[in-house]
């Protein structure tokens, strides 16, 4: 058992190391792409904690992503925060929004949970438009950021290589955190809630609290992704709160395989490239997202992770 834990950590760290080395091999364009993929993968990792492990499908993660993005962006624009303070502000605002959302959405279960998450996220989207004196609404805010000062060195966030490594650091944190969380006693209970909530309650667990904290952790990680996205690409706008940012993490997670720690990265990378390629042909590239959702539901419900897992199991040990 302990050996398995060691192997699992070693494997995940190897993936992170590979991503680190990738920046010395990839052409410039793909470095930019992979930066975005890693930032979105943090969103998907957050989503996976709630959906993949706890079994709660949310259609409203855009509100957490946007809370992180606006928390960071507005504090830079209106309060003149530096990048690190802004990142913390973004994560903190996503944490608060998750707490508030959790109190509301966990009152209901099943399909009502989906409806209420979507409803709240749409309201949050409308709020970003309504308070346009602060958020500048649809048009959004283009930020000018101070460099990160650290140990006497200065890192400009406009430098692609700095962006890449900041994104990688956040991704590595999110990945190892999710791995640790799911191997912890807490993670065991999340899975138990997903598999059989009634039983879990009668084993003495307050399942509401576990669902609640799973939601808060998931929302806060999604907010980290939003804050990073805003800071690395120096922009925040109402589109960050749109339905698209609730759909994408769902799609990434499904494609990568639910309840697999590396699933979100795989799903994000593949889907991102698919969208990226198709957007050079048509402005209606979101049709790829629709088609992918249909294809996955109809023919590929286990995603890449499930498929790999089955392949490994078939192999004689």
């Amino acid at each position: 058992m302990r050996q398995a834990a060691f192997r699992s950590y070693a494997f995940h760290i190897a993936v992170i190391a590979a991503l680190f080395l990738l920046q010395y091999v990839l052409p410039a364009y793909h470095i930019g792409t992979f930066t975005r993929i890693m930032v979105y993968a943090v969103l998907a990792i957050g989503y996976n904690i709630l959906f993949g492990y706890t079994g709660l499908m949310s259609l409203g993660h855009a509100m957490f992503f946007a809370a992180g993005a606006y928390g960071a962006g507005l504090s830079v624009y209106w309060l003149g925060f530096g990048p690190i303070a802004a990142l913390l502000a973004g994560v903190a605002s996503a944490f608060v929004v998750s707490l508030l959302a959790g109190i509301v959405v966990l009152r209901v279960s099943g399909v009502a949970f989906l409806i209420v998450t979507l409803m709240l996220a749409q309201a949050a989207f409308l709020a970003t438009l309504y308070f346009n004196t602060i958020t500048l609404g649809d048009q959004g805010i283009v930020l000018s950021l101070r460099p990160i000062e650290m140990a006497g060195l200065s890192f400009a966030l406009s430098d692609p290589s700095v962006k890449y490594n900041v994104a990688l650091a956040a991704f590595a944190f999110a990945l190892l955190f999710s791995l640790w969380l799911l191997r912890s006693p807490f993670g065991r209970i999340l899975i138990a809630v997903r598999e059989n909530e009634a039983r879990t309650k009668l084993l003495g667990y307050n399942t509401f609290l576990y669902r609640f904290w799973a939601l808060v952790i998931s929302g806060t990680l999604s907010g980290l992704s939003g804050a990073l996205y805003c800071l690395l690409f120096a922009y925040v706008g109402a589109s960050f709160a749109s339905l698209q940012y609730s759909t994408l993490p769902l799609l990434y997670t499904l494609l990568g395989g639910t309840g697999v720690t590396l699933g979100p990265l795989a799903g994000t990378a593949i889907m991102y490239y698919l969208i990226d390629i198709s957007s050079s042909f048509t402005s209606s590239y979101m049709i790829i997202v629709g088609a992918a959702l249909l294809v996955i539901t109809l023919w590929f419900p286990e995603g890449i992770g499930g498929w790999v897992r089955r392949f490994l199991r078939r192999k004689p040990a």
Binding site: M57, L59, I103, V104, R107, V108, S109, G110, V111, A112, L114, I115, V116, L118, M119, L120, Q122, A123, L126, A127, L129, Y130, L243, T247, L250, L254, T282, S283, S284, Y285, M286, I287, V289, G290, A291, A292, L293, L294, I296, T297, L298, P301
Partner: protein, 294 residues
């Protein structure tokens, strides 16, 4: 300062919104009630209805706008009903109406429909001429006669739907399937066809409401989001699958939303509606979700 006439105007606008919302939300609620399916693409059916009005009136350019509108009133439910049946046949049936997977699938459907419209119809919002031009002159302001026709048509269609559900054989089948699909099947109810027709009927109701609002708003490929949000609010308040509750909630929320929209701002109206639902959920956990017979 809100004056009496302004309040009356707001009330009338609210009534128009409520009538159309009732049609849309009834469709969503019906589909959930019988099939246990939440259709995320429901708003896109509203949008398709509005786009079809534009096509019809563009095709018949030069003719009286009423002709195009009447044609759309027939065409939209037929076309959208067929699309919904195809979706049921090709997608929903294959995944056995599994609740979580249908949600993902209808989400996919949302993007496929929306983006197909973007490809063909384009990104512009286009105004549509109302079929009739007359104004009711009240002492304080003139009011569009078309909007009164919308209320009348919506009530008529709600009445027809009610008759279909309560008096016809298909309505009986739907009610039986709703109670227990397996038992209904055992008693010879063609459950599969019932599902296909219910999904189509739900979509048709949405499409008709799209036709009705097109001349008031404009036709745009992203216009499905608002009706979807409002219908969701309505079914949460009225009780998922509870048709009477849906209609009552649609009336209340439609009028309230419409009034705030006129007096303050449409965006604010939707935010307040959502926040109210959130507050109600906190006060009565799960209490709104009780299901009862239609």
């Amino acid at each position: 300062m809100i004056t009496g006439p302004a309040l009356l105007l707001a009330l009338m606008e609210g009534a128009v919104g409520a009538a159309v919302l009732a049609l849309t939300a009834l469709g969503l609620s019906l589909v959930f009630g019988v099939m246990r399916v939440i259709n995320i693409a429901h708003g896109e059916f509203v949008m398709l209805g509005a786009i079809i009005v534009w096509w019809c009136s563009a095709e018949l350019l030069g003719a009286h706008p009423a002709l195009g509108f009447l044609l759309a009133l027939v065409m939209a439910p037929v076309v959208v009903g067929l699309i919904a049946m195809a979706a049921d046949w090709l997608v929903l049936r294959r995944i056995n109406y599994d609740p979580e997977r249908t949600i993902v699938a209808t989400m996919g459907l949302l993007y496929v429909i929306q983006q197909s419209v973007l490809m063909t119809y384009g990104p512009d919002a286009r105004p549509i001429e109302p079929p009739v031009y007359f104004r009711i002159q009240l002492p304080w302001f003139g009011y569009s006669g078309y909007k009164l026709i919308v209320i009348a048509l919506a009530l008529l269609l709600l009445g027809i739907t009610w008759l279909i559900l309560s008096k016809s054989r298909i309505g009986l089948y739907m009610r039986a399937t709703r109670l227990d699909a397996e038992t209904a099947q055992a008693f010879g109810v063609p459950v599969r066809r019932v599902y296909a027709s219910v999904f189509a009927l739900g979509a048709m109701l949405a499409a008709v409401s799209g036709v009705l609002i097109a001349p008031i708003q404009q036709a745009h490929y992203l216009m499905g989001a608002d009706p979807l949000l409002l219908s969701f609010i309505v079914v949460i308040v009225g009780g998922l699958g509870n048709l009477r509750g849906t209609l009552l909630a649609a009336a209340l929320i439609g009028i309230g939303e419409g009034m705030i929209a006129v007096l303050f701002s449409p965006t604010l109206a939707k935010m307040i509606a959502t926040l109210l639902v959130a507050l109600v959920l906190i006060a009565r956990p799960g209490g709104l979700m009780r299901e009862s017979a239609p």
